[in-house]
């Protein structure tokens, strides 16, 4: 469920970009990524129960997604930094799950192809923004730093996911560092977890914008109890 919530929430955030992207090709790309994630969320949530009940009828405290994915879109640089951090994580995670024999192996085998594309998209844009103009460099640097404090949470061990989390974290850090350096960006130096204990989102402790996001997402479904759509 935590992985399903990650995909569901990030998909929602990317869906907010529709009609607002900086260039038409990005309308297509961001919607494409959002759709892939929504597909993953539906499979993952269905493993636990009814996808719509889980998405629309749980309250904030019952969601187990990372705080990283619930962060508002901000400018395009913030969206790309969030994508870079998260897709690199997903790529490492699904890569290992696909190779294993857990019940998630099948899903992971399909998802790993999608997230490799997402990671490439984020990496390409990180390079362009970091190594583009002075303004884009500054914005990208600022975005990388603003989201850095949410990245530690990704490596809290999860039930049912039997991988070496410390090694995964080290690989993630090496991969992200390499991309940021190629993009002429400085790797942020701040702590990788916020004032809340690391793992807060996984325990149902979220940031303030998340409740508002859920209010919008769930409003219609909750207004018509028991209806089918």
């Amino acid at each position: 469920m935590p992985l399903g919530d990650d995909a569901l929430v990030l998909s929602h955030r990317l869906g907010e970009w529709a009609g607002h992207a900086p260039v038409l090709e990005e309308e297509v790309a961001l919607a494409n990524i959002a759709l892939d994630l929504l597909g993953q969320a539906r499979v993952l949530l269905s493993l636990v129960g009814d996808e719509d009940e889980l998405a629309y009828l749980r309250e904030e405290r019952a969601f187990r997604n990372l705080q990283l994915v619930e962060q508002p879109n901000g400018d395009f640089a913030h969206t790309i930094a969030r994508q870079l951090y998260f897709s690199t994580y997903q790529k490492l995670l699904y890569g290992q799950l696909a190779a294993g024999d857990s019940e998630l192996a099948g899903l992971a085998a399909k998802a790993v192809k999608e997230v490799a594309y997402h990671q490439d998209h984020a990496e390409q844009w990180t390079l362009r923004l970091g190594d583009g103009t002075d303004e884009s460099h500054q914005r990208m640097q600022q975005a990388c730093e603003a989201l850095w404090r949410f990245t530690g949470e990704m490596f809290q061990p999860l039930d049912g996911v039997d991988i070496d989390w410390r090694e995964t974290e080290a690989t993630w850090l090496a991969s992200v560092t390499a991309v940021l350096q190629r993009a002429t960006l400085t790797v942020p130096e701040g702590p990788r977890s916020g004032a809340w204990a690391a793992g807060a989102g996984r325990q149902g402790l979220h940031t303030e914008p998340f409740g508002r996001m859920l209010a919008e997402m769930q409003h219609l479904h909750r207004s018509h109890p028991g209806a089918t759509w």
Partner: protein, 333 residues
Amino acid sequence: MTAVTAETGTNTHGSQTADDKDTAVYAAAFDAAVAADERIEPRDWMPDAYRASLVRQIAQHAHSEIIGMQPESNWITRAPSLRRKAILMAKVQDEAGHGLYLYSAAETLGVSRDELLDKLHSGRQKYSSIFNYPTLTWADVGAIGWLVDGAAITNQVPLCRCSYGPYARAMVRVCKEESFHQRQGYELLLALSQGTGEQHAMAQDAVDRWWWPSLMMFGPPDDESSHSVQSMAWKIKRHSNDELRQRFVDICVPQAEALGLTLPDPDLRWNEERGHHDFGTIDWTEFWDVLKGNGPCNEQRLTQRRRAHEEGAWVRDAAAAYATKHSNGEATA
């Protein structure tokens, strides 16, 4: 391809020049190709007015796809089930893709996408008046799929045989995807219509609000349509506005019955003699008003489009700067 135009073909004395003779030969070949239902391709000679007319039509069509993303994406974050949310996201994504095909088709006529977007943003080129209406409930997403996409398909299927090749080919691809969206919209409305009383009422209200604006999508009546006669002679258009509108009404009536919804027109009835449905008079004052920019959402739609473009400028600049930095090696190699 030739740069010959009517202006350069005539010298100051008004007598015939060699270029003028060439133009006459090209024009005859063009007319013959159109008459024989052959396709005109980007490198072929074409009358300036034909080129201009196509640029106008294809650009407006592309703009409509782009602006048309707004009323629907208004509901992406509120879609009531994950399945519906996925369908809607895919649809809005397709629309961006259609915009891309159509700008490419327009570019074969010697204009650039940037130039056309500029004209959209400054209000010098239009988009379909339908997208100036607001989406007020979830059922509007279904009504747009059924009625608005339905009207678009009725308009666009004949364009698959349009005389200009790149436009006709773009239409083949667009129509396939649009038909899919239309079925999904219909199915959404059906689910609502057969759902709870509140859902049924929501569906009926949406159809009541979208029916007349959908009929307006076919453009002004034939006797007031300034571009129609020439477009039909050039085989850009194949049927008149009123013919297509009638065809659409005839298709929708049985579909509305199957949906269990009514169409908001007391004058709508089958005319045995004509073999068509008679229907009430369109409010042309509203149509011209919306077209002039005074519809419910004209300002909002353009403002959002301009804002997306302006706020994205630094991203496009970054991509261009990066491309320049990193292509120098290849360019000089």
